[in-house]
Structures are given as C-alpha cells and as structure tokens.
Symmetry: C2
Subunit: 212 residues, 2 copies
DNA sequence: AAAGAATATGACCACATGGTCACATATCGA
DNA sequence: TCGATATGTGACCATGTGGTCATATTCTTT
C-alpha cells in the first residue's frame, strides 16, 4: 500500500503518477519497468516517489489492484444475473464484457495483458494475493454448476473445458486489441459480436446434453 | 549469425555457450536476459563472447533458430502423413507431437514459452524473419483443406477455429509443463493422451458436417 | 512569531548492463 | 625462425537501475 503521503496528494498529482505508472507497467515487465521513467513522465523527483511508495513492488501491486477493482466493478453487474443463464450464455456474456472492458479501459487491459506474461514470480504472487484471480476459478465454478443442472454432458472434462475457455478468452482479447487496438468498439460491435459467437458456436455445439 | 570464430570452436566449448544461452533466454525476456550471466555460466570472458557474436540479438536469433529447427525436424515426419488424415486426427497428432517435443527438449520448450511472451518487438521480428512461424498459418491451411474435403461445415469461421486451436495448443503445453514439468512423459503418456483427447472431443464434436 | 511536523528534492550510492579496445597469446604458413 | 593472422582476455566506458539521505521548504499548531 502507498504511504499516507501519497493519499494526501492533490488528485491531479496522484492521478498523474498513476497514469505514468500504468503506462510504464503496460509497456514492460515488472523487472524491465523503470522507476526513473515513471518519475520523468509524472514530473516528480525520485526522492518524492519514495516519499509515496515503499518500493517498486508497492507501486506495482497498487496499480494492479486499481485495474482489478475496475474490472470487478464492470463484471459484477453481469455476474448477478448468472443464475438465470445457461453456460453458453454466461460465457458469451463474459467474453463480450471482456471486450467491452478492453475498450473502455485500454490502458488497464494492456496492463492485464502484460501481467499475464509476467515472469517475476514474487511480483505475480504479491498481486494475486492482494486481490485478484477473478477468472481463475470462475470458469470451473460455472462449468460444474452447468453440469449439475444437466446443461452439459457430465463426461466433459471440467478442467479441460475451463482451460479452453480461459485461453480462448485471452485469445479473443488479444485478437481484438490487435485488430481494433484501443478504438472502434462501438463502430465494430456487430463484427465483434459475430466473431465471439462463431467461436462459441464451435465450442458449444458439441457439448450440450440435448441435441439441436 | 555467429561469427566464424564461433564455428571454429571445439564442440564442447560452443555447446556450453549454447546451453548457457538457452538457460538464460528461458529464464528471462530478451531485454532482461544478461550477457554477463551467460558468460559466467559458460565460463568465458566477456571479450571472448563478442569475438563469437556480433551482439545480444545475434545470439538470441541463433539460439531461437536452433530450437525452431529442432521442432521442425520432429514435426516434419508427421506432416508428411497429413494428407491421409482427417482434421481432428491431424490436430490430435500435432498436439501430441507438441507435448512430445516439450518432453524431449524441455529447454527448447521453455524457450518457446518465453518467446511467446516476448515484448521486444524488434527482437521478435528478427526471430520470425530468420525462420519461424511454423504453426502460424499451418492451422488455417489445415482447416481450409478440411473444408474443401467436406470434413467440416463450411459455415465454420476458419479464422475463429484456427485461433481456437492455436490458443488451445498453447494451453495444453502450459498445462503439461506445469503438471509434469520436464519429466514423466513416458510414465504419464496415458493420462496426457486422455487429456488431449478430452479437449479435442469438446472442440470437434460440434463442427463435423456429418452427425454422430 | 516560533516551534515542530510533514514534504519536497536531487545529489549520491552500489551495482548491473551491453559493448569496446588495447594488448597478450596461440596458431600457422613460409 | 619469423612474420602474419586469428583468438583470448579483462579493464574500462557510458549509461541505467532501485533506493537512500541530508538538507531545504512548506504547513500546522500554539
């Protein structure tokens, strides 16, 4: 957690620091990201930085937590409705919300993309501990829930399916980021929806217990 | 390409350098990987290193090329039989060969894993240019081929499916690496086969033109 | 106005980085 | 044996890193 000094800062200043940090941690891994760079971008001296944060990890975890909280905020409204939906509908919603998140907060999405590639184990652990797996076990829960409701075949390997959905989800995000990179979500909503649907169609048209 | 000096080295020495480099580039990104570390591990002075390689990128590209060539070597035998197989069989073979590769060359596999996370664009481009996309467009070709043979429904989005297979492939590798990490391929062959099959079962039981 | 606490600041530290270069040592052909 | 050519080698360079700290400034309280 940042020191009190940081929270006493005027919002304009602290926001600038946050922005600079988000940009830097989106650009590079935890190790490769540079405090000097962040200070330069936020227009604060190095001495001040260490007045606000204990060390690099302190800042890193804080920034990640902000992004995670934002994502949870956007997703929570959707998850409330989950109980009334079938698994394919749930997954579809999750995917689309993911795309929406990436377009509403491209900076945070890039941050998440970078985090998924992070190789500094201790930094990763610190972030996860501080609040986020979110989608880690979510898919598994959804799948088992769907099984117990008889929505999908019991013989389907839950772990395999959840792994599939997880990797697919990140693939979709990566694809969207590459194709529309930051802008054009509203304009291309139809195309995006169609793409997601065609993906899910492949996956789900074989695992329903019932036939078409 | 390494300088002549490198190729004139006795095999024991050059192999030691290669080994040290593979280890270092598996551990860290291109930027984070350290020449000093490699020299230390290979027991050669820094001056000698630059007698062998133009710079860091030169070594990086060379090491990656070695791994790619090894992978191609293992895969090429399989690809020859492709024309006689259906798409699911092809994909299954590809997945299993991938797992086999990871177990025969865990060092190279780790290298590939690291490369897929590489964020230095110019380093990435240099590697790709020097010889490898391999599986980049392979899936797309296989899919279109299967379509023209009427194996899968023409309405299936080729790009979506190839994306799915690609991300699935990396998910399998990641999962295997995590679960059996380096050893135990032969002992767990049944379990691995079963896992791959259950994944592919999910995907393919919905995209065949014919019904069960 | 004075005293005391909270902040701001940049020079500085030890260390690591990729890369160079002058010089030492082998190797080889004549 | 001598000269030339190819190799080996580590001190050195400029630059960057995360982090510290003594000092200066500002704010708050009396």
């Amino acid at each position: 957690m940042p020191k009190d000094t940081f929270f006493n800062l005027p919002d304009v200043k602290s926001n600038l620091i946050i922005l600079a940090a988000v940009e830097e941690f989106s650009r590079a891994s935890f190790t490769a990201a540079s405090i000097n760079q962040i200070c330069r971008r936020a227009n604060i001296p190095k001495g001040s930085f260490y007045q606000y944060f204990r060390d690099k990890l302190d800042l890193y975890v804080y920034i990640m937590k902000l992004a995670i909280e934002e994502k949870i905020r956007l997703f929570s409204s959707v998850i409330d409705d989950f109980s009334t939906l079938t698994l394919p509908e749930q997954v579809r919603l999750l995917f689309l919300k993911g795309v929406e998140f990436a377009n509403r907060h491209p900076d945070y999405a890039a941050l998440g993309e970078q985090f998924s590639k992070e190789s500094d184990e201790s930094a990763k652990a610190a972030v996860i501990k501080e609040g986020g797996r979110l989608s880690e076990s979510l898919f598994l829960q959804m799948i088992d829930n769907a099984k117990s409701k008889g929505e999908i075949d019991n013989r389907v390997d839950s772990l395999a399916l959840s792994l599939l959905l997880k990797s697919l989800n990140s693939a979709v995000n990566e694809y969207m980021l590459e194709k529309f990179g930051g802008a054009g979500y509203e304009e291309n909503r139809e195309e995006i929806d169609g793409f997601v649907d065609s993906l899910l169609n492949i996956v789900f048209n074989g695992i329903r217990s019932g036939k078409d």
